[in-house]
Symmetry: C2
Subunit: 201 residues, 2 copies
């Protein structure tokens, strides 16, 4: 019915995964180019070259689509780097966040989903889950630093990881100042200094 099935040549799982990939790519592209206000399921289906019925049946609403995109972004995001020191680990994290936010497509996409989350509770939930997963991915480096005696016992790993990202997102959203590597390195350095002083214990 949708005109995009080709059951003779493709495994069902493979086709489903390819349809999802195409739809989420089209969703991300549209968000990055035009923001959340212009998102429309029929446009996405056209752009993804996928039947409209498939998109409506599978994602239902624009917010359902954005929630699934955020799930995919969490699944696709890079695993943490282990360098042997808290400053090394957090610097790697800060530089990864900076690279993501300064990438033209990814940066615009993150701005769009943060904006969308301010006015839609389902998108907000999906966004919170995305950040929770990213924080969970990186939190063990703080536990390792506690074990090595680099930071005090009782330091909250999640708070330390959030402290690295916070100045980068704040700069992106509230200032016109470029997000350079020095800003990333400073964010990591400040988080380590504050953690050492016991600010997150």
């Amino acid at each position: 019915m949708d005109g995009d099935a080709d059951p003779g040549t493709v495994r069902p799982g493979g086709r489903t995964a390819r349809v999802r990939a195409a739809v989420l790519r089209a969703t991300g592209d549209t968000l990055a180019e035009q923001g959340f206000a212009h998102l429309d399921l029929a446009d996405i289906a056209r752009r993804a070259e996928v039947g409209k019925t498939t998109v409506y049946r599978r994602w239902g609403t624009v917010t359902g689509l954005v929630a699934d995109l955020l799930t995919d972004m969490a699944e696709q995001s890079l695993p943490r780097t282990e360098t042997g020191s808290l400053l090394g680990d957090l610097t790697a994290n800060a530089r990864l966040v900076r690279r993501t936010l300064t990438d033209p497509r990814q940066g615009a996409l993150f701005k769009a989903v943060i904006a969308a989350a301010t006015c839609d509770p389902r998108t907000a939930e999906a966004l919170h889950r995305f950040y929770e997963l990213r924080i969970q991915e990186w939190a063990p480096c703080v536990q390792q630093a506690i074990d090595r005696g680099e930071v005090p016992e009782g330091t909250d790993p999640h708070e330390v990881i959030r402290a690295v990202s916070a100045p980068l997102y704040y700069r992106l959203l509230t200032s016109g100042i470029p997000l350079d590597e020095a800003a990333a390195d400073r964010a990591a350095e400040a988080a380590v200094a504050a953690a050492r002083a016991g600010a997150y214990a």
Copy 2:
């Protein structure tokens, strides 16, 4: 023509100021209740009980209106507190930011203007100016801390002030975790510890 003038009883300056106050209040209320997407000059004029022509002539566009609202918010915002120590001053600042962001109307309003700024360059410029002014208002407390020897020479006052707000905005926009006073106090404490360690020098 507008039907809202009453030249016999009101000074011209007073009337102009009152019209602006009514229009900006209506703009803020609408943004806080419905977000940026629903802003409409004619609706604002109706809500403010001001002639439509006046609103179109004076503000021209929705982005012009939001820019003026941000100018007014910067003018209206509270002066900094002086407590005699950097931790005291930054704690006062962090608590003020937290009070603003957890106030139902103000919090929703800030979310709405940050969202609007992600998709409109003029709103972004006005938002950046708002934060620049707020940072300038508070920066002298860091210079005083440098003079008192609390933090190293060459510490960037603007970076320290930004470091106080960043975790509070990050929490507001990317997590569902309530913005409590402990978060404000921790933001101030972390900024002081990082500044002392020379992270902003």
